[in-house]
């Protein structure tokens, strides 16, 4: 099954180009240039990974990350940062980001992280299903 990725960056040309290259590598890519739209899309659809720009107009990337994780804790978010600062990256990890990549991103590195995100999400979903099953088995008296 193809990896489902949501790209979020206010630079349209960037998301279009990156999306095209990722699609050519077999990924199923959706993209948006708006932070508010990203929150809406992430609520309506499921993704294996969200690649999110740290500095967005209307809403800071860390703010978007907080909102995404509050709504869907299993979401795997990779932050794209234009800053060469470790502090922001550390802050992002503390808020639940899976990883961060500095711009300009190397597609091979990003792809590797996306695959890791997919694997991690699968484990989390499986664990959730297991917990649900265990809950049913212990609470229902069959």
């Amino acid at each position: 099954m193809a990896v489902k990725v949501l790209l979020v960056d206010d630079e349209k040309e960037f998301v279009d180009l990156l999306g095209e290259r990722m699609s050519a590598r077999g990924m199923e890519v959706s993209s948006t240039t708006s932070a508010a739209d990203a929150l809406k899309i992430a609520e309506e659809q499921t993704f294996d990974a969200i690649v999110l720009d740290l500095m967005m107009p209307e809403m800071d990337g860390l703010e978007v990350l907080k909102n995404l994780k509050a709504k869907r804790p299993e979401l795997q978010v990779i932050l794209l940062t234009g800053h060469g600062t470790i502090e922001k990256g550390v802050e992002a990890m503390r808020l639940g980001a899976m990883d961060f990549v500095e711009k300009p991103a190397d597609l091979d590195t990003l792809t590797e992280k996306i695959k890791k995100a997919q694997a991690r999400k699968m484990i989390l979903v499986e664990r959730k299903v297991e917990e649900k099953l265990r809950d049913i088995l212990t609470t229902k008296g069959w």
């Binding site: 040309e13 180009l17 990156l18 234009g82 800053h83 711009k103 300009p104």
Partner: protein
Amino acid sequence: MVSLLDTASVEGLRFFGRISASISHELKNTLSIMNESAGLLEDLALLAEQGKGLDASRVKSLGSSIKRQIQRTDQIIRNMNRFSHAVDEPLKEIELVDFLEFVLAVSRRLTAAKGVAITVQPTDQPLMVVTRPFFLHSLIWLLLEAGMGQTGQSKALTLMPEKIESDISIRLMGLETLALEAEKSFLPKQGEPLLSLLEAKIKMDLDQKVLILILPKRLKDEPRGESASTTS
């Protein structure tokens, strides 16, 4: 004892860092687009080597994209260069409309992050001012930063420079939520030394929802605060 110039310089340095970080972010963005364009060209070349054919129009559009980003990067670097050289001459004659447009150009990313559109109203005649450009830039940014939180629903501000008698004023318009209590607190404390150093004054027109920055047309060489040191 700390001089007025020293106090203003600390704020100036903070402002310089903020703008430099914003410019570096913009440069990273243009580099990212060029990086992806180049990567896509490589992808297309690889496909062509495998006998998949080469879409000439796609190659051409990628070339145009790279050219566009080079021009954009060049403009960002020009602005960065002009911004860096603002500290070279402490006192300089500037044309105010051109200066205000430059202020907006280097802080576009920061204003866009707040979702506020800021414009400069042009004047019929050039408005020449002898001032301290770097400190004026710092002061205007502090006012814009405060003003962006006062636009209400409109999310728009206008800077209107004009000549008033022997002075020059810059009207900051569009402050929809400007209230009486803002008169004393609109400019943050760190802006006060800048105001003194530029011999500027701030007035508010609460009915019109406008802040007016008044500057002398020709600032004198010796900053007033240099001879009279301030304590901090």
